[in-house]
């Protein structure tokens, strides 16, 4: 057994929560005051509703299929999920059904963009967007291609 005291070496211990964690922690959590009592609640437009859409979908399955497909079984270097998440985030807010928390960050900023009248730049995508979401992010494709060449 190790004698020396070990700091949090294996445990990811962020000193403050990032946005993805915060969305996960607080959305839909906590007391809702208007169910307890009639209060002079003030109406205001809330932007965060879309962030909690979590839908299992074909898109999700295709993502895992791609992950298992590009796996190089002889390669013992392990890619961490953070990298995969970066890859997926390049898909941006248009994958509404992608589900999963890592999408929420995109969704929140996407909603903000839409409210401000930006972010409506999806029209230059190819028509088969819904059919072939796995082809979208360019870096993912080139990363897969690099791996194939390496084989």
């Amino acid at each position: 057994m190790t004698v020396a005291p070990r700091p949090s070496h294996y445990l990811d211990r962020p000193s403050s929560s990032g946005l993805v964690d915060v969305i996960d922690l607080i959305l839909d959590k906590g007391l809702v005051i208007d169910i307890y009592v009639r209060v002079s609640l003030v109406g205001i437009e809330l932007l965060t509703i879309d962030a909690r859409i979590v839908v299992a979908s074909v898109d999700t399955y295709l993502r895992f299929a791609e992950a298992v497909n590009r796996l190089d079984l002889r390669d013992d270097k392990s890619e961490g999920l953070p990298e995969l998440m970066d890859d997926m985030q390049e898909g941006g807010a248009r994958h509404k059904t992608r589900g999963a928390l890592e999408g929420a960050k995109d969704t929140v900023s996407g909603v903000v963009d839409r409210v401000r009248g930006h972010g409506d730049d999806d029209s230059d995508d190819d028509e088969e967007e819904e059919e072939q979401p796995q082809e979208r992010p360019k870096r993912r494709r080139s990363a897969a291609a690099r791996k194939e060449r390496a084989e």
Partner: protein, 266 residues
């Protein structure tokens, strides 16, 4: 999308973060919701107090900055060992007078009882994510059917293999969920005994471990050490992330509902 209720969205209102005991101090040096943020203050009524800040109604609420500010205010209270009943994001009351007269005064007893239950505790949340390649490799090794399907998919052009791709992904996703449920169970067996309350979300393919614990102040170090040991055991397989001390987001409603004679926490 829009929470329509009362007046025209101009002027200002009182953003309510949560409720604390009246003897608590307002969080210092923590910026609240809004741009620019107003100081966070307490509105006291007898033995309880609402944590509030003024907010300008001229813009919609819910930017990433707003969400972060909401949790920052509440978590700083928890970190200073103040019992706090967090409210759901976006609670806005017209003014301070309404906070006292309509929120605190009628609910004093209920809030006080809830705060009593939470006193001396804070929430810690544990998130786990798999080292994707390592786990996928193990799945392919242990499931010949998945390995076969993977080979088939690899041999076909992308368009032709669409159905097989979906089937492959579904099988992988199911297997990840099964593994996640096992790992989450081990985590709960290890950490729940160190907490006054615990709750765990069902494992999903993306998020095998997602659990929250209400931990007594005296047990924070032990809890963290136990989480560290688990993380060391799972090194290279499952990455653990420990968040806290946090406001008891996952336990506040249960505590207050129980006071009402509602369904007990399970």
């Amino acid at each position: 999308m829009t929470d329509t209720d009362s007046p025209a969205p101009d002027g200002s209102a009182c953003y309510v973060y949560g409720v604390v005991p009246a003897e608590a101090h307002a969080p210092r040096g923590v910026e609240g919701v809004g741009d620019p943020p107003s100081p966070v203050a307490l509105v006291r009524h007898r033995q309880v107090a609402a944590v509030v800040s003024e907010i300008d109604l001229g813009r919609p609420l819910g930017t990433p900055g707003d969400l972060l500010a909401h949790s920052r205010v509440l978590d700083s209270l928890a970190a200073h060992r103040t019992a706090v009943l967090p409210f759901r994001f976006g609670a806005l009351v017209r003014d301070r007078e309404s906070v006292t007269a309509e929120l605190l005064a009628p609910q004093q007893e209920r809030f006080l009882a809830g705060l009593g239950d939470l006193a001396g505790h804070a929430q810690f949340s544990v998130r786990g994510s798999y080292r994707q390649d390592r786990v996928l490799r193990a799945i392919v090794d242990e499931r010949p059917d998945i390995a076969r399907l993977r080979d088939q998919v690899a041999a076909l052009p992308e368009d032709a293999a669409r159905l097989q791709r979906i089937q492959l992904g579904e099988l992988v996703s199911q297997e990840l969920t099964t593994l996640g449920a096992q790992d989450a169970e081990l985590l709960m067996r290890t950490l729940a005994p160190l907490a006054a309350r615990a709750s765990s979300a069902d494992a999903t393919a993306d998020r095998p471990v997602n659990a929250s614990f209400l931990v007594p102040h005296s047990g924070w170090q032990e809890f963290e050490r136990a989480a560290e040991e688990l993380a060391a055991d799972w090194d290279g397989w499952l990455e653990l992330r420990l968040l806290g001390p946090l406001a008891p987001y996952d336990f506040a409603s249960q505590v207050v509902d129980v006071q009402e004679g509602g369904p007990p926490w399970d």
